[in-house]
């Protein structure tokens, strides 16, 4: 057991509680997904097909060819660019995901760990799209942005990877801008009421 304390990206920045409008149901519920494995996978030149097959065999998911998700047992692969994916896992926590991917995809893909480099914020609730619209120039209409859809874009001058998981939206941001994102979210959601809950 390490003697170094592990801290999530929003540790000390956000506290659970109700923000903005106090009465009524909160328009948005926010939570931080902590200690999950995050990694990028980039196909080695000429090994794209082998990679797809290897991922299918190892993780039970077919890598999407565009900005969407493929979900295997315990791991989600999100398309972030041509030949590039962002992998998210709760079962392979923190650095374990990248380690596992690097081992299983050796020679087929370049793998980099981002489990510490991103804050993952989950937003849910009836007004979640209205809140996101204040910073995100993407059409989130459910007919356009369905379950599993993903997009890399910006929210309030901050780079963000967004994907839809059921009715929830997960947002991956640079760890260093966690505080600025929180400031933005608090202000954007204030009119609807924002509930921050902890996870796990």
């Amino acid at each position: 057991m390490s003697s170094l304390k592990s801290m999530s990206a929003l540790h000390g920045i956000v506290s659970p509680g109700r923000y903005g409008k106090q009465d009524g149901e909160p328009g948005v519920v926010a939570s931080e997904r902590r200690d999950i494995g995050l990694a990028t996978i980039a196909a080695r030149k000429g090994h794209e097909a082998d990679l797809t097959a290897a991922v299918k065999a190892a993780y039970g998911a077919v890598l999407p060819s565009g900005p969407g998700s493929a979900v295997g047992p315990g791991v989600r692969f999100i398309g972030i660019g041509p030949g590039q994916w962002f992998a998210v896992s709760e079962t392979l926590a923190n650095e374990a995901l990248a380690d596992d991917l690097a081992e299983r995809l050796k020679g087929l893909a370049s793998v980099a760990d981002h489990s510490s480099g991103r804050a993952i914020i989950r937003l849910e609730g009836p007004e979640v799209r209205a809140v996101l619209a204040k910073g995100l120039a993407l059409d989130l209409d459910p007919r356009v942005f369905g379950d599993g859809a993903a997009a890399t874009s910006t929210i309030g001058h901050m780079g963000a990877l967004l994907w839809r998981d059921g009715e929830a939206y997960d947002i991956a941001l640079f760890r260093s801008v966690g505080g600025s994102f929180w400031g933005w979210l608090r202000s954007a959601a204030a009119a609807f009421g924002l509930e921050v809950v902890t996870t796990s």
Partner: protein, 991 residues
């Protein structure tokens, strides 16, 4: 004492007469009703004089009932919320509203600068270009301040805007701009077809002209008080935005709109912004912005009480206000006759209908008879009444004149389509002879125009044209609208016979009343050769006021056409540009002001550094610890201590902000050979190397160290400032220049918390963190080694033996979630070894002492040669910048190149930014030989030192130069030396 609303028409209009709100205008306590605008409430209280004009300070009243208002501008609210130049005609009345008239002194009724009128013959168009030149020095000192004080209209607040703003994004199939009959009908048709629709209107009520006119729509009576029907049973996907002005059309179906969320309230409610900017992406857009009524130009046509005929109907029918008790109508079209009928039906007197059309009008004669008004064929030639119309003078066709007492002169010269949005993307309006107005010309892709904005006149025609446009737009989005329910309107209209102006002998006839541009000014401009509308605009300021000429541009063009003997349709027009109506800067900035202007990036050790009392500094988006002062220390003492402690014992500094790029692939080494001037393919696994990158033009772009973690895996660092740029550059090299290489790059900056541990005791500190069984002795882990280790009970760490300070040093990286823990662990481990943190200031001192180039030297203007790194440029391989970097001018000895400077007096600071001239030479450009890039006090040398770029510098070590900083009034003598002040042979970092 509250006013009595003497001009309120009880039982008329859509305002809530059962509820009373109070407000103040110029300190006077008045009342109105919800649903009023400030203008309608002022008129209800019998107030006609509202403001003063720009140049002549003429009394002005209310001309219109909408956003095109040129005259009735007020200062709304007070203190930090003061809003100058706000149109009374669009201010929604609220309880407690405070407004004041502007551009007058000492009072609205007695304005001293109205004396300017006496000098009017001298103050014609462009007079200032011909005068104020003598004597030359008087312009800034006397004339300009005088003009500036007289110009402008309202007073701005000088305090920060206390309200908040936000932006939001919306996407739709069909955007409908304007919710009058055409817009409502277009939105309904599109929504019924299944399209996602957004309907915007600048007004706080939907309906457009339907709110102002009486008449039947679809068999329903149009009695005043009727509310317009909304789109049928609120269709499933139609978002309706009231108080929302679409102000700009941009490329690719992007429309910008501003929603005045809280402007109808005294202050924004909690959590609500004052205004919201909408960025709307629409596949199709339908402009249903209506039309502006056009005044007729005649002498003294600017008196309060002169009002557009359509606005009169709005005040009577919508607001239940009598703009006057005794009216005269002066119009060149039959549509304006409704004003007479509506006034009469409201119990007001219509004294006369003055018809300037040569052929007259049977309809007009009939309406006159029905309303008990005189029907006079002729023109208005004068208007009397200092602060409001009292008498008008009519000259009839036979040349006879008569005067009529009245307090309201309703005028109409026809209607101009509000086609502004159709021209924002470069479309040119087209002159329509039969309608006598400009109509939309070529439209941008995905845009339609319907209703009065395309020249339709009747409500039926507007409804039909809206429906057709809505259905068409839906069809173009792939929906299948049902067949139109309304027959296409009869497009046969009687040709207009416009009367632009009345020739008058006396009395200024204003074309642009806000800017006081009169007919004589337009004629003078034409006489002086300004014959295109743009020249006339620029010379006379016609159309440049806050209304952008919505009621004056075409009249100006008509007068210009006449003055230059041209056909009006050939004169052309000025260009409408965004915004459609003025938009607050706050709304366009939204959330991004103050500390939220840009995001703030915090390092993994930020919280810990705060606890230590660190002083922070902005470095790009990052906040970095500048220094860690102790009580009673001066800044210089702190830095000296941090440097000395690091050089004597050990220090720690957060270097996580350096750009870190993960480079992998079988061709990763070959790739690095192409982006750095020096080679990387021979670098051994477990080693790091310094590299310099050039731009393709041969100048230095960035530097840093790159470590080889595996045969096919490198870890590159960049400077903090250039991290994003280098990433982009690498992607360019990968995808555009050398797509055949197998290489993948990804930023790892955020993943790793990285600390520099530097000083003679650094090894002991690092060793204390390592889990057992790992060796970092000098033999096992020499200078420039790198490797992966386990620390603090299994935490994976990357260790690099790199030194920016010149001391024995390591950079240690862990996943950022351990960053806070690691800095605390380093401090604990270092306690016994005399560790102290150091900030970027001390870091800077040590790198200057070592002569390492950083931002001030890597300024984009220097070459490898200039930085003393010319020999690193490989001759054998291709790399970015190789060819053009070899150009003679980039390598000649006379170029300014990096040197060190030591002041002859060690206690004298060498100014960064100072220039270098030979000792004894004058500080003039001809003697300029270089400049100081960086300076610091070196505790080790007990002297100020500096780095500089000096012409032929490396050959001039030992020479004494004059360091000139005339900007700060200092001159120092300094000796040129090697930039490596401390440990030039690098012995310390290899121990």
């Amino acid at each position: 004492m509250a006013g009595r609303q003497t001009n309120r028409l009880r039982g008329h209009g859509l305002v809530d007469q059962g509820t009373t709100v109070s407000f103040r205008f110029d300190g006077q306590q008045l009342t109105g009703h919800p649903g009023d605008t400030l203008a309608s409430a002022l008129l209800a209280n019998g107030i006609r004089l509202v403001g003063r004009s720009f140049k002549y300070h003429r009394p002005r009243g209310i001309l219109t009932a909408g956003s095109e208002e040129p005259n009735a501008l007020v200062e709304l609210r007070q203190g930090a919320r003061r809003e100058p130049n706000t149109r009374a005609t669009t201010i929604e009345l609220y309880d407690g509203l405070e407004a004041a008239s502007q551009n007058r002194w000492p009072s609205l009724k007695a304005d001293l600068l109205s004396l300017n009128q006496l000098a009017a013959p001298l103050l014609g168009a462009g007079f200032y270009y011909k005068t104020f030149m003598w004597p030359a020095a008087f312009w800034e000192k006397l004339y300009e301040p005088m003009i500036r004080r007289a110009a402008g209209l309202g007073y701005p607040s000088k305090q920060a805007d206390p309200d908040s703003y936000e932006k939001t994004n919306a996407f739709c199939d069909v955007l409908v701009i304007g919710a009058g009959p055409a817009g409502l009908s277009a939105a309904l048709a599109a929504a019924k077809a299944g399209a996602r629709v957004i309907l915007c209107d600048e007004d706080f009520a939907l309906g457009g002209r339907l709110l102002s006119e009486r008449g039947d729509v679809d068999g329903e009576s149009g009695a005043p008080g009727r509310r317009p029907r909304r789109p049928n049973s609120s269709p499933p996907d139609c978002r309706i935005l009231r108080r929302t002005t679409v102000f700009g059309a941009y490329d690719g179906g992007v429309y910008a709109a501003v929603e005045r969320v809280s402007d109808h309230l005294p202050v924004p409610p909690e959590h609500a912004p004052r205004q919201r900017l909408w960025r709307i992406v629409a596949k199709q857009a339908i402009v249903c912005a209506g039309a502006f009524e056009r005044p007729i130009v005649f002498g003294d046509n600017d008196r309060p009480g002169v009002m557009l005929a359509g606005a009169v109907r709005t005040y009577v029918n919508r607001f239940g206000v009598a703009p006057g008790q005794n009216a005269v109508i002066f119009a060149d079209n039959d549509a304006a006759l409704r004003t007479a009928t509506d006034l009469a039906d409201a119990g007001l007197t219509v004294q006369a209908i003055v018809d300037p059309r040569p052929q007259g009008s049977a309809a007009a004669e009939q309406v006159a008879a029905g309303t008990g008004a005189l029907y006079l064929r002729g023109v208005i030639e004068k208007v009397r009444g200092a602060h409001g119309v009292r008498v008008v003078g009519v000259r009839d066709n036979q040349g006879g004149t008569r005067t009529i007492k009245c307090d309201l002169l309703a005028i109409s010269g026809g209607w101009n389509p509000a086609l502004n949005l159709t021209t924002h993307l470069g479309g040119k309006p087209r002159w329509d002879d039969s309608r006598a107005c400009l109509v939309p010309g070529d439209l941008p892709a995905g845009m339609r125009v319907a209703g009065a904005a395309v020249g339709e006149v009747s409500t039926e025609a507007c409804l039909a044209s809206g429906e057709a446009a809505g259905a068409g737009a839906a069809r173009d989005c792939g929906f299948s609208p049902s067949a139109p329910s309304r027959p296409a309107p009869d497009r046969q209209i009687a040709p207009a016979t416009p009367v632009w102006q009345v020739e008058t002998g006396r009395g200024k006839a204003f074309v642009d009343s806000q800017n006081d541009v009169a007919v004589s000014d337009v004629k003078l401009a034409a006489r002086e050769g300004f014959r295109v509308p743009d020249h006339v605009k620029r010379y006379t300021t016609l159309g440049m006021a806050t209304d952008q000429g919505k009621t004056s541009n075409l009249n100006g063009a008509a007068i210009l056409a006449e003055a230059t003997g041209r056909y009006l349709g050939a004169v052309g027009s000025t260009t409408f540009r965004p915004p459609y109506t003025p938009v607050s800067i706050g709304a366009l900035a939204g959330h991004h002001r103050g500390t939220d202007f840009r995001p703030t990036r915090l390092t993994p050790s930020h919280r810990w550094a705060e606890e230590q009392g660190a002083v922070f500094v902005e470095v790009g988006m990052w906040m970095r610890a500048l220094m860690f002062p102790r009580p009673e220390e001066s800044a210089q003492e702190t830095v000296n201590r941090e440097v000395a402690n690091t050089r004597a014992h050990v220090g720690v500094c957060d270097v996580s902000t350096l750009g870190k790029i993960d480079v992998q692939g079988t061709d990763a080494a070959a790739f690095l050979d192409k982006v750095y001037i020096n080679g990387f393919s021979k670098l051994a696994v477990g080693k790091a190397r310094y590299g310099l990158m050039l731009r393709e033009d041969g100048f230095a772009m960035d530097d840093g160290t790159t470590a080889r973690l595996a045969e096919d895996h490198f870890y590159m660092t960049t400077t903090t400032a250039n991290a994003v740029r280098v990433s982009q550059h690498l992607e360019f090299c990968q995808e555009v220049l050398w797509p055949e290489l197998d290489v993948q790059t990804v930023s790892a900056t955020e993943q790793w918390a990285q600390y520099a541990v530097a000083g003679p005791n650094a090894r002991a500190v690092i060793a204390a963190l390592l889990d057992s069984g790992q060796d970092i002795s000098n033999d096992a882990f020499p200078y420039m080694a790198c490797g992966t280790f386990k620390i603090c009970g299994g935490v994976p760490a990357r260790l690099f033996r790199l030194s920016f300070s010149g001391e024995l040093a390591y950079e240690i990286g862990v996943p950022a979630r351990y960053g806070d823990g690691l800095i605390r662990a380093i401090m604990d481990a270092g306690a016994a070894h005399g560790i102290a943190p150091y900030g970027t200031e001390a870091l800077g001192v040590m790198r200057i002492e070592k002569g390492h180039a950083a931002g001030p030297e890597l300024n984009g203007q220097t070459t490898a040669h200039d930085l003393g790194l010319g020999r690193m440029m490989s001759k054998k391989k291709d790399f970015v910048g190789r060819f053009l970097g070899e150009r003679e001018a980039l390598n000649e000895p006379a170029r300014a190149a990096l040197v060190g400077l030591k002041p002859l007096d060690p206690k004298v600071r060498v100014s960064a930014g100072a220039h270098l001239v030979p000792k004894g030479a004058d500080a003039v450009a001809a003697n300029d030989q270089g400049y100081v890039t960086s300076q610091a006090y070196s505790p080790e040398l007990k002297s100020f030192v500096a780095l500089a770029m000096l012409s032929n510098g490396p050959a001039r070590h030992g020479e004494v130069l004059k360091v000139c900083d005339p900007l700060r009034g200092s001159e120092t003598l300094a000796e040129v030396c090697s930039p490596h002040f401390v440990d030039p042979d690098g012995e310390r970092l290899r121990v």
